[in-house]
Symmetry: C2
Subunit: 299 residues, 2 copies
């Protein structure tokens, strides 16, 4: 079934303890779409500036990403810089240049309006709402958010949370949103805000989903060599939504399977800078690692 992603395209500067890279293809929608595309076409709605490289559009299109919803605006593309400490869990944002994102309002091509599975990547919740409003009959909508919006746009975020099927948060965001340090209590408190499902990501410690018919928890795939964790969360969302859209029905079992798929795509993501760990990996690679992970968690 059709999968739509509304989010960010940008260029990242990343420093790890091993290496420093600049101008990397990045942004939430890039990691999401590159992770999800092997499951089926991903319709993308985003904006870039005049410094956007045509080669990056070609890379996305070659992967199976539909760029009919990509706007090219006056100005510069979104840029982000970050530095990781040795243990990967500590990330320092060095700079954020919104550039063309500052005034971005998502405009869906007519052909996108029948999208059934929708991912609203991290953005101001009013922008996420404006994008979602253009989808005629969404079947399953998942939104991401971040600490900034929890702090400065809580009313709009509360409205959004009542309109989505699922929200995807990391441990810190879930605690900030609910005031609960214990993640199980935090997840339950998130559900009381409106969404049917909460997907709670714990980085290298795995993720769980909680909802009316689901409480499913699993560890991360055992990656032995992390290169760059940037985009792991969006890659998780890409694998999750891509697999779910391909399955067609967000049943309890398909949601569990989607959690494994998300774990697999996140594991490929962290093995390279930018999307280097994902490009060149197809459904066969995904399936091999899915089977391996399933064996590791089977009881």
């Amino acid at each position: 079934m059709s999968l739509l992603a509304i989010g960010t395209l940008g260029y990242d500067d990343v420093e790890t303890i091993h290496e420093q890279r600049t101008g990397l293809l990045g942004g939430s929608a890039v990691h999401f779409a590159v992770a999800a595309a092997p499951y089926g076409t991903v319709r993308l709605v985003s904006v870039v500036g005049q410094d956007w490289h045509a080669a990056d559009s070609r890379l996305l299109e070659a992967r199976g990403v539909d760029l009919a919803g990509l706007e090219v605006a006056e100005g510069k593309t979104f840029r982000w810089g970050g530095r990781y400490e040795a243990n990967w869990n500590k990330r320092h944002t060095l700079f954020t240049e919104l550039n063309v994102l500052e005034t971005f309002q998502p405009k869906l091509p007519v052909a996108y309006r029948d999208s059934r599975f929708v991912f609203l990547a991290n953005a101001h919740p009013a922008v996420q709402m404006a994008g979602l409003a253009q989808v005629e009959q969404p079947r399953f909508v998942v939104a991401d958010t971040m600490n900034l919006w929890i702090n400065i746009a809580r009313p709009e975020l509360d409205t959004l949370l009542k309109r989505v099927d699922g929200v995807i948060l990391n441990d810190e965001e879930a605690s900030m949103l609910t005031g609960e340090a214990n993640l199980i209590r935090a997840a339950r408190a998130v559900l009381s805000l409106g969404p049917r499902y909460v997907i709670l990501k714990k980085g290298e410690h795995g993720a769980f989903i909680m909802g009316p018919d689901a409480h499913f928890s699993l560890p991360a795939y055992p990656v032995t060599e992390v290169v760059d964790p940037t985009g792991a969360g969006d890659s998780f969302a890409g694998g999750f939504m891509g697999a779910l859209a391909r399955a067609g029905e967000p049943s309890a079992m398909n949601l569990r399977r989607a959690m494994l798929h998300g774990t697999v795509t996140a594991s490929f993501c962290v093995e390279g800078f930018s999307v280097e760990g994902l490009t060149g990996r197809g459904l066969d690679d995904y399936q091999r690692r899915y089977d391996e992970l399933r064996e590791i968690v089977s009881i």
Copy 2:
């Protein structure tokens, strides 16, 4: 099958952000034995001083712990004090008084020598070896250790690791023992030191077992109210070894099931001070939480 534990009995002073308790029944062998006893009798080898309370022996015996191997020595019982920070992961040891443990040499009653499943709780590896040497035909031996012995008794620890079937470590100990920060690489490096299996505990993030026929990983049971994490690791070991001894054969599937049992007993442990979360819980309670956990991880 018969289960033997050689370890520490003591009294703990524990401070959490909510409460302060002194003179709590504690020690590695106490948490292990109280967790394991519902699966079948636990034979205990340990030492206490003259200040040991007869009521604590009665509590252990009522639980199904065989105290024929409990020595009462001149002097005071082992004592430990610790303080937890709000997030539970940070523990500060306030004092350690070895007392009668200082000169303890385990002496197995003749009736214990045919024990088949053996747990060597944290102690100097030479003491662990001396205890193990008195078991005639052990079927499955698991040892615990700690940073102190990795630092000051490495040759003896290396010898011990070649004689046991499994070693149980937390993330910090595994990294210290091997010099590997990545836990998968650390686990593989531990296996190269001799044991067939390594069981790696990650506290609230779960645990995994790795060995020739096993790589099984699972999250912690979703506890919503932690009271005191003291003894969680030894309670895990108790559930693991108790279930394995009851099953009789350390097959790949029984090892996986034992990991769930250990996760369940650890979850009961942290819900109370000392062994208060475990006492009063029987096999039925264990099984209910086992089934719940199994549902949470099933795919």
